[in-house]
């Protein structure tokens, strides 16, 4: 059992938790993820390591409530226990001094981008950060990102905070201003459509772009193949060969389709959980 030590509510649907998991904290690196299971009947879901504290033995996760498991997790509080929490999984981000790196976080993707930006800067890179969210209420970690990056640009889709525009609009301006030859690498993490749009943009400039793929997963150790995706025409397992890949090589359509395959079932599970939750007994709502 893994204890939730802290909980922070960024918005009604985006939450942070600090979880006691010394084994994971001891060896994890930026870019890796964990798989957790809340309770005995629960699903195994992957979440990126947003931060860690080796001394305290803790892992920070930031998640968006999109379905049954993330909603149930969101309903848990500091002091509660998560049944299973395994990691670090996946390969760490490749960190070296590339020169100038454009680091982009969209939505809940701001969280996983943060430790990578920090490491890139520590490695001597000039890190230009771009973070964006749909609206002001969904923005978080602006302060942490400002610290992790050499410079930071903030945007909201609806213009309710700082400026109006998608992260790709800001990226385009930066690339034009800085000159594409002065940017050595792009890293983009966020919802699939956002990463895809970033890749479409950077392809025009011939800028290599690393993305972190969120394929459906079961075990996360290379045993089931559920997470497979075509990269450059070759089948890769996101959980062990990734999660980071060259975004220009990813078969985005396949990834999106595979991700949507269980949508009906996910919907059913979510509605059922809501019904259970709304019962008037003192069960605490769901499990």
């Amino acid at each position: 059992m893994y204890k939730i030590l802290e909980k922070e509510v960024f918005s009604p649907i985006i939450k942070l938790m600090v979880v006691e998991a010394p084994k994971v904290a001891k060896s994890c690196q930026a870019g890796q993820f964990v798989i957790l299971r809340i309770h005995e009947e629960g699903e195994r879901i992957p979440l990126t390591i947003a931060d860690f504290d080796r001394k305290k033995g803790t892992i920070t996760i930031v998640f968006q409530e999109v379905g049954k498991t993330t909603e149930q997790l969101g309903a848990m509080e500091a002091g509660d226990y998560i049944k299973d929490f395994v990691g670090p999984l996946g390969l760490p981000s490749h960190i070296e001094n590339f020169g100038t790196v454009l680091v982009v976080g969209g939505g809940v993707g701001i969280a996983p981008v943060h430790p990578i930006a920090r490491e890139l800067k520590n490695a001597g890179n000039h890190v230009i950060g771009v973070i964006g969210s749909r609206t002001k209420d969904l923005m978080f970690w602006e302060d942490k990102m400002r610290e992790a990056c050499s410079e930071l640009h903030v945007t909201t889709d609806d213009g309710s905070y700082v400026r109006k525009g998608f992260v790709t609009d800001v990226m385009k301006e930066i690339i034009e201003d800085t000159g594409k030859d002065n940017i050595n690498l792009v890293l983009a993490i966020g919802p699939q459509p956002m990463m895809r749009a970033c890749c479409n943009l950077t392809k025009e400039y011939g800028l290599k772009t690393i993305v972190s793929l969120n394929a459906l997963m079961v075990d996360g150790t290379g045993m089931c193949g559920c997470c497979r995706v075509s990269v450059g025409g070759v089948t890769k397992f996101v959980c062990v060969d990734g999660p980071e890949f060259d975004g220009h090589e990813v078969d985005w359509l396949e990834l999106a389709r595979r991700g949507a395959y269980f949508r009906e079932e996910e919907q059913r599970a979510r509605e059922r959980a809501k019904e259970e939750h709304s019962c008037q007994c003192e069960c605490g709502g769901g499990k």
Binding site: D84, C224, V229, A260, R272
Partner: protein, 481 residues
């Protein structure tokens, strides 16, 4: 050979002391095929005490114990059958456990027909003794009445890490613990048991049986740390250099699924057998939405392959509600590598077979969901190096088979995680860890390996045997330290 008259009980005394011979096995009570193909309850229901005694009494107590030579861990079969025949089930199970740490599992899933029972004297003219069935009864009897924990030697002060909690790892851990070593098992998944938990279906091996066996190991003082992927949170080298483990046993199995590498294999609705079975067994997708993990099945399922894994997947598909479940296999029925009993069960439950057939392409709809496969017919050509007649495609024989789900069950290889992160550990071309089969020793001092990770996908009992060998060698190694 077969041209003589069939032995009849009334003319048998001329050649044999008839009083003792009972020509046929006591049948195993089983769920009706039609009923069971819709549920996940265990198919074989197990003997009653009376039947178990009657079956054990069939044993001739041969001096030469040929059955025993057929057992990879050399269980003293005649001795346990004798005890069982006297109704001394406690004695019988104690006898079995001298050699076999997981009898409730082995009694259910061992291929006895190619092991002990194959060599049984009775089997020459009649049916062999149902050794596995009596073994299962004794083990279940013990689980139901309370397990006696064997004695553990005083602590030696040595620490051993076991990587992987499949039958190889669990057996190795049990033997080392009994010898007084402090054993910690690291398991990647959230429950111990390996394939016994995630692969072999509930209807053949109830998960409660596996967990009961695991609980018994814990009582020996074995620590099992789940959610622990070696090669990720730590490495074999770190375990030995930083965590103070004196030796390591690697039993990480063959968990890497192979695919066909044909177009369309990444469409939705194409699963590896591992994913299909893991969702169902480990994550209990058959109880969705009470359990959270879903599985989608559709009307018609095609399972590619002909081994036990394929049979398990095809039978699972029926239970998940498929109207048709097909085994699509490149060779003919005779070459099916699956156990005869599993093929029989599959037939009885209504699994259909497309022999001499292999898919070349998988088609999908606008959402990327499987709709059909293009298949090629094969014929059997000349025997290959292994003596099996190899399948040769018939040109122009392509046809389209409509399917909603495809399960790829063409084999598994070793997971490269541990070999890749362990310095100086030799692996074969196929990625298997190279280990001496007689000692389990690898190219790295203090590191031993066994089970599927060494041999490639094999059997539970062979993995257990390798676990035993590893434990013995580790004990010798530590004793000399």
């Amino acid at each position: 050979m077969n041209d003589g008259p069939k032995p009849r009980p009334d003319n048998a005394p001329k050649t044999q002391p008839q009083s003792k011979i009972v020509p046929q096995k006591n049948p195993m009570p089983a769920q009706d095929p039609v009923v069971r193909s819709k549920n996940f309850n265990e198919v074989a229901l197990g003997y009653s005490p009376e039947t178990a005694i009657a079956e054990a009494k069939r044993c001739l107590q041969c001096k030469k114990e040929p059955c025993r030579q057929g057992c990879p861990v050399e269980v003293d079969i005649p001795a346990f059958l004798k005890l069982a025949s006297q109704g001394d089930f406690a004695g019988a199970i104690a006898k079995i456990k001298e050699k076999n740490a997981l009898p409730a599992v082995c009694g259910r899933v061992c291929p006895q027909e190619t092991q002990c029972e194959k060599y049984c004297t009775l089997g020459k003219k009649h049916e062999p003794v149902g050794i596995g069935r009596v073994e299962r009864f004794c083990a279940d009897w013990e689980l139901a009445t309370g397990v006696k924990i064997p004695e553990v030697a005083p602590p030696t002060g040595f620490k051993v890490a076991v990587v992987g909690s499949g039958p190889a790892g669990l057996t190795c851990a049990a033997d080392l613990a009994k010898l007084g070593h402090k054993v910690t098992v690291f398991e990647a998944l959230h429950v111990p048991g390996g394939v016994l938990m995630y692969g072999i279906p509930e209807f053949r091996l109830p998960k409660a049986v596996v967990q009961a066996e695991v609980e018994n190991l814990k009582k020996l003082g074995v620590d099992i740390e789940v959610n622990s992927v070696v090669g990720k949170f730590t490495t074999v080298d770190q375990l030995m250099e930083e965590e103070g483990y004196d030796a390591v046993f690697i039993g990480t199995g063959a968990g890497l699924p192979y695919f066909m590498n044909i177009p369309g294999e990444n469409l939705c609705g194409v699963y590896s057998a591992n994913e299909f079975l893991t969702r169902t067994n480990l994550m209990k997708a058959y109880q969705f939405p009470d359990w959270d993990t879903p599985i989608k099945i559709g009307r018609k399922v095609a399972v590619l392959g002909g081994g036990n894994v394929a049979m398990d997947a095809a039978r699972t598909a029926l239970r998940l509600g498929a109207e048709e479940s097909w085994i699509v296999y490149r060779r003919s029925e005779k070459e099916l590598p699956a156990r005869h009993e599993e093929v029989e069960h599959a037939h009885e439950e209504g699994v259909k077979f497309a022999f001499l057939t292999s898919p070349t392409k998988i088609f999908g709809d606008d959402n990327g969901v499987v709709t059909a496969m293009e298949c090629l017919k094969y014929e059997l050509g000349d025997p290959d190096a292994s003596g099996r007649r190899s399948p040769v495609p018939i040109p122009g024989s392509e046809y389209v088979m409509e399917v909603d789900t495809v399960v790829v069950a063409i084999g598994q290889g070793p997971n490269p995680l541990v070999p890749r992160t362990t310095k100086g550990l030799e692996v074969s071309k196929k990625g298997n860890i190279v280990a001496n089969l007689e000692t389990g020793a690898t190219s790295k001092t203090g590191v031993y390996a066994g089970g599927d990770v060494v041999t490639g996908a094999a059997t539970v009992i062979l993995a257990m045997g390798a676990g035993k060998v590893g434990a013995r060698s580790i004990h010798d190694y530590l004793s000399k330290k």
